[in-house]
Assembly symmetry: C2
Homo-oligomer: 189 residues x 2
């Protein structure tokens, strides 16, 4: 009976070649290098200084839109302006969260090319970007209606509305490269 059992003490494997070891380590770290040599993270991707700069710019301009809009006392009377405030808060929180992740990745010199992380970043960027663009466009429509079509700027805070709308648009312009780079990185692996 004992003779038919397989060996339970594993035979020590020979040390792998250096290239195979590096590949195994990369796979263990969740970094995908499936097809030969791959370029490093492009500027603007998560975990790079440019990516961190984009995130901080998004958060800054979203916070500016929020502050300028909230400084007017009559923004809750218009639904689109309330929606802009909500979208700016969401955008600011999302960008700040990713900025902290970028700072962590830069400090510990860790790549953020993990497949699941990039997928979450892309979906989140897409959702917050669509909401921010929608809020900015809705506010722009109302601002143009007040300022150009009805000419009732004297009774309203047209300058504040326009500034907040412009800040929201700039925040969206800073978000677009992050979203496109994340989606590209997700698709090209």
């Amino acid at each position: 009976m004992r003779a038919s059992r397989p060996a339970v003490h594993p035979v020590e494997a020979p040390p792998p070649a250096p290239a195979a070891a590096a590949q195994a380590q990369a796979q263990a770290e969740g970094v995908a290098h499936p097809r030969g040599v791959r370029m490093k993270d492009p500027p603007g991707a998560p975990g790079t200084p440019a990516g961190l700069g984009l995130r901080l710019a998004q958060a800054f301009f979203a916070a500016a839109a929020l502050a300028v809009m909230a400084s007017t006392n009559d923004f809750p009377s218009v639904s689109a302006f309330s929606y802009l405030v909500a979208a700016a808060i969401l955008q600011c929180l999302w960008s700040l969260t990713l900025a902290f992740i970028d700072i962590y990745a830069l400090l510990v010199k860790r790549s953020l090319r993990n497949a699941r992380a990039v997928c979450i970043f892309t979906i989140g960027d897409g959702i917050t970007g669509t909401l921010t663009l929608g809020a900015a466009c809705a506010s722009a429509g109302i601002t143009v209606l007040i300022g150009n079509d009805l000419n009732i700027c004297a009774e309203n805070h047209c300058a504040s509305f326009e500034t907040a709308t412009a800040m929201a648009f700039i925040s969206w312009f800073a978000l677009a490269p992050s979203c496109i780079l994340n989606f590209w990185s997700m698709a090209s692996r």
Copy 2:
């Protein structure tokens, strides 16, 4: 003199292996199959029946938004509604153009996975999608302002404005899969 001339009657080449022939034909058609076996065009990609259906849906809903908005006599007094009409015209023309290209590709059974074509489709989809979403959001902001915030629907064509806005949103929802699939196809080659 005659003897030094090269042969003008080409020697018949031996028939290549079937796999090599298929690969050469694919390369001649501009279809990229760089890494082993690749799936066929996913449903919704340009040149597929689902892609054609998406294009026709985009064009139909953009045309519906255009028709409903143009049927109101006072839309030029609001900038956002004029912008919606312009964006719907652009969206309709773009989607119809790509629908004709899809019909041609389906009739001649030709793949549209050409790198340059996919790049042009992606950029065009991105631009028209952003414009359509912006126009829909601006119109939605004004419609909500008229209907909910100011309650002056009695003097305005609220139902028409709401219908046109909804049609523009549906057109954008039909455009999003095309744009994402084209971008994915561009990035993953």
